[in-house]
Point group: C2
Chain length 167, copies 2
């Protein structure tokens, strides 16, 4: 996780992890089946932290509308502030949504429940979860890649969400 703060998961090697832990180059194989096994674990931990961030934002909001906006903005902020952690969560070569890890599956469910609940509580239809999730995911990804700034992304989400609520 420490290495993941500085470089993309793709560029993290098992031997590098071993060196950082000051053990032999093969010690990681007694803790992870594979290089992909390591990445799976990184993805699970990252997802747990993303879910925690979103939940904290939802719980800290005064009303349902504010909760939807705060939750979405927390999602976007996570993507921008921890881009490599965010990327590894959604890397399809690491975790296939159709067949997720035993640890990952409930986290995905929880994220969907949190976001879905916020969408419905704010007065939107349940099917609008797709749009809201897509919106924060795309804004977060593009902002993380540098296509626009974080505050532009969060403001943009807020006004789009309000437009959907009004419409």
């Amino acid at each position: 996780m420490q290495l993941l703060a500085d470089k993309p998961a793709t560029e993290i090697s098992l031997r590098e992890v071993a060196r950082a832990a000051d053990v032999s180059h093969n010690a990681p194989y007694h803790h992870f089946s594979d290089r992909r096994g390591l990445l799976k674990t990184l993805a699970e931990r990252s997802m747990a932290e993303l879910v925690a961030d979103v939940r904290a934002a939802l719980e800290g909001a005064p009303d349902a509308t504010a909760a939807l906006i705060a939750g979405g903005q927390a999602y976007i902020r996570f993507a921008v502030e921890r881009p490599h952690a965010f990327d590894v969560i959604y890397d399809p070569t690491v975790c296939i949504p159709g067949a997720p890890t035993a640890t990952m599956a409930p986290l995905i469910d929880e994220l969907e429940t949190l976001l879905g609940g916020a969408v419905v509580d704010a007065g939107l239809r349940a099917s609008d979860l797709t749009a809201c999730w897509g919106l924060v995911h795309g804004l977060g990804t593009l902002a993380a890649a540098g296509h626009f700034r974080l505050d532009v992304a969060t403001d943009s989400f807020e006004s789009a969400a309000r437009a959907m609520l009004a419409g």
Copy 2:
């Protein structure tokens, strides 16, 4: 580009490209500066095709509202049908938005002009480009990763766009 249809850019090796072209393992170095140089070229070609798809969708639409929806849906469809090409376009280790390639820069501009024009023509504010781009990007990415189906993503974009137009 042929290899990119079957596997992510990350898993394409220069030596593999050389074998596919039936040349020595070092021949690619006379056409690309670097492994990253190859990926940059793949990103540029992919971006050109994405822009072409979006433009074709815009031009084939009967009115401004239909154009916005068709353009966004073309973007989503590209992401789902050619996920590896889509990924390499937005890979920040390949092309940094702040300092894009000479070939990539005008393509990014063109995409923004196309989408921005569609947004404004349909009656939205220019600042809504961010939300629309983020929306199709996120829906495309999540659908490509398998989090929901293509038709769910395109339908979701259509109804969200109509909601924004009505609000």
